[in-house]
Amino acid sequence: MSQELQFDLRGQICPSTLLTALREVNRHRKDLRQGSVRLTIHTDNRDSTATIPEAVRNMGYRVLVEKKDGHYLLHIDFPVEDQGAGA
């Protein structure tokens, strides 16, 4: 069962959403790749709903975007079939 780490970045100045997402993905990469952690980014920055998935998918992660309560949640994890393959 993986732990979910939440980051509320709503209202923040551009481009701190993308910078923070990249920083946290890198910081938790070992746990993400082992499947012990999932990240959820809360943002109201519309641009980041395109730029974060683009960047993070290029790094091999999986991203799901959902809209809830007037803002966006970006769920980031590592594909199950690739977990445990090392950082």
């Binding site: 709503r10 209202g11 923040q12 100045i13 551009c14 481009p15 701190s16 993308l18 910078l19 923070t20 920083r23 109201d44 920055n45 519309r46 641009d47 709903t49 395109a50 730029t51 998935p53 683009e54 960047a55 975007v65 809209k67 007037g70 803002h71 966006y72």
Partner: protein, 369 residues
């Protein structure tokens, strides 16, 4: 009492602003990100959209000129190139990166509820009004640094404007088509009601042309911000004679082609031609974005943010405001207004945006990263 053409100009510009605000919000189309992301994230995606917007402007402005629907070029308040355009561009480029958006970017973000966007606007007004005291020594310097060439590239080369613009437009079109074919003009999107930036670029190019048709000038805001700054100075200064001379300058004096409306004005605290053209544009962009956000259920005002972000927004705003007076002009004025008519001053300003954005991105990485 306003004549009917003044009312048409006010309402028409308001509608153009509403459309621009809506489009920019839906697409999150900010020129600042175009230059910033090149250095911060090694992404040229938004820069490609800017190329498209410039191409659209170039074609439409030239079409208007050939149809006799532009009184004269360069546009009012655009003059010969000066090295101050380059210096202003560098300062502006850094400021817009720190502020999280350019002059139009911070406005549409403020409209959708961004507290840092509002803060940046406050900074822009402050930067514009500070220039009032700098003007006496900057203006002679600007004149000394003015190029003796024609204001535009075809004029400087003694070439046909139509032929030069046609060749440039074909070159830009080939680039856009090449990028389209490679799929690099499209972005996978997840935001509700998302407008692809390339469609926003087409729309903004067309809105700029409609502005030229209606009022004889492309989109611009910063002189209006300076007027707000001047008005604030009148509240603090006991006697009008103590106001810096800059705040009584006349920046433009011409007649529109449609309706023959005399438009005279400058960075004064009073209502004038600048107010008629730029105030409704500011209101339109702000409320166009607000309406777009509200329709999506995305309008929220969140102000509990890290203090350093307010500091960045304010500092970046002051830099943009000051740069817009030093150059003069802002990024939208030069990139979407001056570049399409191959104004050398606008080319210098745009060139300056690159090192400015590079420096701003380095600072931003240290402060936000």
């Amino acid at each position: 009492m306003a004549g009917s053409w003044e009312i048409i100009i006010f309402c028409g510009t308001l509608v153009l602003g509403l459309m621009a605000g809506w489009v920019m919000h839906r697409s999150d189309f900010c020129l600042a990100s175009a230059f910033r992301d090149l250095f911060l994230f090694r992404s040229a995606f938004m820069l490609r959209q800017i190329v498209l917007a410039v191409l659209v402007g170039m074609v439409l402005f030239e079409a208007l000129r050939l149809c006799g629907l532009i009184a004269e070029l360069p546009f009012p308040m655009m003059g010969p190139a000066s090295w101050t355009h380059l210096l202003g561009g560098i300062l502006f480029g850094c400021g817009m990166v720190l502020a999280g958006g350019c002059v139009f970017g911070t406005l549409y973000k403020a409209g959708s509820g961004s507290a840092t966007g509002l803060t940046a606007i406050g900074g822009i007004v402050l930067g514009c009004l500070v220039y009032g005291w700098i003007h006496p020594w900057w203006q002679p310097l600007r004149e000394r640094l003015t190029w003796s060439l024609s204001w535009d590239i075809p004029g400087a080369l003694g070439a046909s404007a139509l032929l030069f613009k046609a060749i440039t437009a074909v070159f830009l079109l080939v680039m856009v088509l090449y990028w389209s074919q490679r799929g690099t003009m499209h972005r996978e999107a997840h935001a509700q009601g998302y407008l692809q930036p390339r469609h926003a670029a087409l729309a903004l190019g067309a809105i700029g042309a409609l502005s030229v048709l209606l009022v004889g000038m492309p989109l611009g805001l910063t002189t209006a911000y300076t007027k707000v700054g001047a008005w604030l100075v009148t509240l603090a200064v006991p006697h009008p004679a103590q106001m810096p001379d800059y705040f009584s300058a006349v920046a433009m004096d011409y007649r529109t082609l449609l309706g023959g409306v005399p438009l005279t004005g400058g960075p004064t605290p009073h209502w004038d031609g600048i107010s008629l053209v730029q105030y409704p544009l500011i209101l339109g962009v702000f409320f166009g974005s607000a309406l777009s956000a509200q329709r999506l259920g995305e309008w929220h005002f969140r102000w509990r943010l890290p203090a350093n972000q307010y500091f960045l927004a304010l500092t970046g705003g002051v830099m943009m405001g000051l740069a817009s007076r030093l150059a003069p002009g802002c990024n939208v004025w030069h990139v979407l207004g001056g570049l399409p008519i191959l104004a050398i001053g606008s080319i210098l300003f745009t060139t300056g945006l690159f090192p400015g954005a590079w420096f701003g991105a380095r600072l931003l990485n240290r402060l936000l990263g």
